[in-house]
């Protein structure tokens, strides 16, 4: 039966390996945004749809600035890059100059509806009855050396209101000027050429990232300075960092584990077996995640690399039994360790399963990865080790085991009472000292771990082009498009005032591009009332002979706006007829802005970063509830096995969970959602150690002490590595693991041994 199961397991593992190979060959999809770890349930509804539109539009865009002291060289570099990008087929659209055709289409779009189109400032003048000011401006424009206006334009638009409307349109790229067909900005003796493109592929797909890396390596001239920004570059850097870290951290962790096993066992066999065990665990876990989730999150990969530390625990239990003279064969050894390992696996799976219960896609991946990996490792130990291992007991363990008895003695020898009280007092003292410094940090910007160099370039591009990324926006709801536009028109004066007070740098609202039908009618009536009486005198003054061509009364509707060209963004700001977005740029005082907009009907101020941060706070607290919940879930299993000793078995890990956060605070580390999740693992791994100890009869204590020491060292090695990660979330996780596992190991013998 076991023999049959072993062959089945081999077939399954080979199948999994083949599947992973196939997927890697086809190109992996690595997700690296920390936000992907958050629950999809929170990204539902209209807000989500709207946010997604904005995010999608943004995620495909890349912006480059090419700088050179010679304006002509910078312009040429920009034009060459734009041409190469277009020719590469990697992008759908390139913007480097002003698209004349698109500008003309814009003019053609608005011209027939000019009757109802007024710049906000012109409207204010007309409302104040100052029609003459607009006549004066039209005269100044007509007489200006720039040569504004000809008979054709003046016949259609005698007061030149449409140019005023165009000028007031909050189109992006405000600091850029077109020179020789190329958008540039001059500063500090440098000319920067602007090139922006919309990706044809997905920023997070590795093949796309590789294709762009190769493209830029080949097409960016060496003599120009390059600034770049876009999700593509962040994703490329994130994936590179994660792969680099997971390979470095994984390699160091593996090397240290191998060295430790060699040192202790002085045999090569445990290494081969452990590597087989780990390899099977990771292969099975990767295959399952790729199949189930279709993508891998980089954080899951990182945790996956660290899984080595946990998966090897079961092997270590088995290897430690080499030093047990009473277990001469592989089957004997297995029989001795399997109850502890099985119960350990049970409690650990319970720990990971609470992660599965949490509605976090990323954490579900981590949980699924870990569960599959651990089950795979367990099955490998259980089914294959007796078949692969023909070695007898090792003779050299005596002195080592004798010394390790000390770990037990510390907690059980009557003579060492003073010592153990001392250790406990020291731990409590450290926790008490750290308690006042314990504070929560949910700021998503601290967790994203953005590469500082890319952030600098992004800020530089935003400064040079005058184009801020919009992290805040207004969500405007109405029964239909008309209602949504009217709601914006009601709130726009408040925004203008907030802008005048410096609360924000600018904003873009669909209503600025297409006014509500009501507003357009109002505007037309206003022009007819205030300006029409001035028309005959004005035409006589300038001597226009061409007969006026009055516009149609047909209002412009949102659906008429083109989905491409300069107004593509505006269409993206209207995801649903009754749901519009107003982008807010350069918000300096969110609280004051919120107050200024309070009570505006149908308008909701959304600040992505703040909302994400609030969400991290909510889930940090939920993670703590999960922690309590997983203790409850473990109780039936532990109670069934240990009856009244259950509190003793739980005590070491509970102590670790309670003491680790304040002790970490002692080092100035904040308590985040990720630290809370780490505690869930500290609990389940800590329970493992206590269970191993509890399952140990007096004569095998040295063996178990060795096994949990090796386990704790290997786990600490791998998670200690995580504490060195540059990904904040991973680092927070690692530091809590480091401290928590240390305490859980130290206190594990408190669980006591099996009575002989």
């Amino acid at each position: 039966m076991r023999r049959y199961a072993a062959w089945c397991w081999l077939a399954l593992v080979l199948f999994a390996a083949g599947y992973v190979g196939l997927r890697v060959h086809a190109g992996l999809h690595l997700q690296s945004s920390v936000l992907a770890l958050l629950p999809r349930a929170e990204r539902d509804g209209v807000a989500d749809l709207a946010q997604q539109r904005v995010a999608e539009a943004g995620a495909r865009r890349i912006v480059l600035l090419l700088g050179h002291a010679e304006p002509a060289r910078a312009r040429a570099a920009g034009q060459e890059l734009a041409a190469a990008l277009t020719a590469s087929g990697l992008v759908r659209g390139v913007t480097a100059g002003v698209d004349q055709a698109a500008q003309q289409r814009l003019g053609a779009l608005y011209l027939p509806h000019r009757a109802g189109l007024l710049a906000e400032a012109d409207r204010a003048l007309l409302l104040a009855g100052q029609g003459q000011a607009l006549v004066d401006r039209a005269r100044a424009m007509l007489f200006s050396p720039a040569g504004f206006g000809d008979a054709a334009l003046l016949a259609r638009d005698p007061f030149l209101l449409l140019p005023g409307f165009f000028t007031a349109l909050p189109l992006p790229q405000s600091r850029l000027a077109a020179e020789d067909g190329q958008l540039v900005v001059h500063e500090g003796g440098l000319t920067w050429a602007f090139v922006s493109a919309e990706l044809a592929g997905d920023s997070f797909a590795l093949p796309v990232q590789h294709a762009f890396a190769a493209f830029f390596a080949a097409h960016l001239p060496a003599d120009v300075q390059v600034l770049r920004t876009g999700a593509l570059f962040y994703a490329t850097e994130g994936a590179r960092q994660a792969m680099e870290e997971s390979s470095t951290l994984g390699a160091v962790s593996l090397a240290a584990t191998v060295a430790m096993i060699l040192l202790v066992f002085r045999r090569i066999r445990p290494i081969l077996l452990a590597m087989l065990d780990i390899g099977v665990g990771i292969t099975v876990a990767t295959a399952f995640c790729l199949w189930w989730f279709q993508e891998l999150h980089t954080v899951a990969v990182l945790f996956g690399a660290s899984l080595i530390g946990v998966a090897v625990d079961y092997s270590l239990q088995y290897f430690a039994a080499y030093f047990d003279p009473a277990a001469p064969t592989a089957t004997d050894r297995l029989r001795r360790v399997i109850p502890g390992v099985a119960i350990g696996l049970g409690t650990t799976l319970i720990g990971y399963c609470t992660l599965l219960l949490a509605p976090f896609p990323g954490l579900q991946q981590i949980a699924a990865f870990s569960c599959c990996g651990l089950i795979g490792s367990f099955l490998t130990v259980w089914l294959w080790y007796p078949r692969l291992d023909r070695a007898g007991p090792l003779p050299h363990g005596g002195p080592m085991l004798a010394r390790l008895q000390g770990h037990w003695a510390l907690w059980q020898a009557p003579g060492l009472r003073r010592w153990r009280l001392g250790v406990l007092a020291l731990l409590l003292l450290a926790a008490a000292a750290g308690l006042p410094r314990l504070h929560a940090d949910d700021n998503v910007q601290n967790m994203q771990g953005m590469p500082p160099e890319l952030k600098r370039q992004e800020a530089e591009i935003q400064r040079l082009t005058g184009n801020g990324g919009a992290a805040q926006f207004l969500l405007v709801h109405g029964a239909d498009a008309e209602a949504a536009l009217q709601a914006q028109e009601a709130v726009l004066p408040r925004l203008a005032e907030a802008q005048a007070h410096g609360l924000l740098a600018g904003y873009q609202a669909p209503a600025q591009f297409v006014a509500s039908v009501a507003r357009q009618r109002e505007n037309a009536a206003l022009v007819a009332r205030v300006l029409a009486p001035l028309l005959p005198a004005w035409l006589a003054e300038i001597g226009l002979d061409t007969p006026p061509q009055p516009p149609t009364a047909q209002p412009l509707l949102p659906a008429a706006l083109p989905a491409d060209g300069p107004l593509a963004l505006v269409r993206a700001l209207m995801p649903e007829p009754g749901t519009h977005l107003v982008l807010l740029h350069g918000v300096t005082d969110l609280a004051a802005l919120r107050a200024a907009l309070a009570g505006a009907p149908g308008v909701q101020l959304v600040s992505l970063a703040d909302d994400w941060s609030a969400l991290f706070g909510v889930y940090r607290r939920q993670a703590l509830w999960l922690l309590g919940f997983s203790v409850l879930l473990m109780l039936p299993l532990l109670g069934w096995r240990y009856r009244w000793a259950t509190p003793r078995v739980l005590a070491p890990s509970l102590a670790a969970v309670l003491l680790a956060p304040p002790i970490a605070a002692l080092f100035g580390l904040a308590f985040t959602f990720f630290n809370a999740m780490a505690l869930v693992l500290v609990l389940s791994i800590g329970v493992d150690y206590a269970v191993f100890c509890r399952e140990t009869p007096a004569e095998r204590r040295g063996v178990t002490a060795l096994a949990i020491l090796l386990a704790a060292v290997s786990t600490t090695l791998s998670f200690g590595m995580l504490a060195a990660s540059q990904v904040f979330a991973v680092q927070a996780f690692g530091s809590t693991m480091l401290i928590g596992i240390g305490i859980a190991w130290l206190l594990a013998p408190l669980a006591g041994g099996r009575p002989t």
Binding site: L142, A146, G181
Partner: protein
């Protein structure tokens, strides 16, 4: 004043240079002040639109164009765009990014007025005529499809020592004629008001 043969870039016949009149070239750090008369002859209008006033050109920085007749208005033109003031109040602001032809317009006007049309050689085909006292430069867009210049048929710049007239002929038959007089070249010395205007429009 130092004279430079920058017009070599415009394929000036070398042997003619000794005798022919050449424009004095203004450099950055200098200024040109003077008075202007502008006449816009527009098709479909009963009469030309005439205006007069004074101007200040600071090469590389911008042009301040102050009309006094038939009404007072101030216009500032820099590579970054156009700013128009009526009675000291901002009446219109046009960033160059909004009107692609604007940057080019400034280059043409400032290049012609400062006697340094060398920067225009890329965009315009140039024709040069000169005798001992006067010179005339004709600029025609090289690319008929250049949208920023689509409306311009030709630009004729003429003068003696300094530029005295610029005529912009449009494709639709319109023409703008600017004539300059009382010009004075000197070290750049904008007054506080002019300084403030130029700063308002610097990118």
């Amino acid at each position: 004043m130092r004279r430079r043969a920058l017009l070599l870039a415009l394929a000036l016949p070398a042997r003619a240079m000794a005798q022919e009149a050449r424009p004095e070239v203004l450099r950055e750090g200098q200024q040109l002040r003077g008075r202007f008369t502008q006449e816009r002859r527009l098709q479909g209008f009963a009469r030309p639109l005439r205006s007069e006033g004074d101007f200040l050109l600071l090469p590389g920085r911008g042009l301040v164009w102050r009309a006094t007749v038939p009404f007072a208005s101030t216009m500032v033109i820099t590579p970054a765009g156009i700013l128009q003031l009526l009675e000291g109040r901002e009446a219109m602001r046009l960033p160059a990014s909004r009107m692609p032809g604007l940057g080019q317009f400034y280059q043409v006007l400032a290049g012609a007025m400062s006697g340094d049309p060398s920067s225009l050689g890329q965009v315009f085909a140039t024709g040069w005529q000169a005798d001992a006292t006067r010179w005339q430069l004709t600029l025609t867009p090289r690319r008929a499809d250049d949208p920023a210049l689509a409306s311009i048929a030709s630009i004729v710049v003429s003068g003696a020592r300094l530029v005295e007239a610029v005529e912009v002929r449009k494709a639709n038959g319109d023409a703008d004629l600017m004539t300059f007089h009382d010009q004075r070249v000197g070290p750049a010395a904008p007054d506080a008001a002019e300084q403030a205007l130029l700063t308002q429009l610097s990118p």
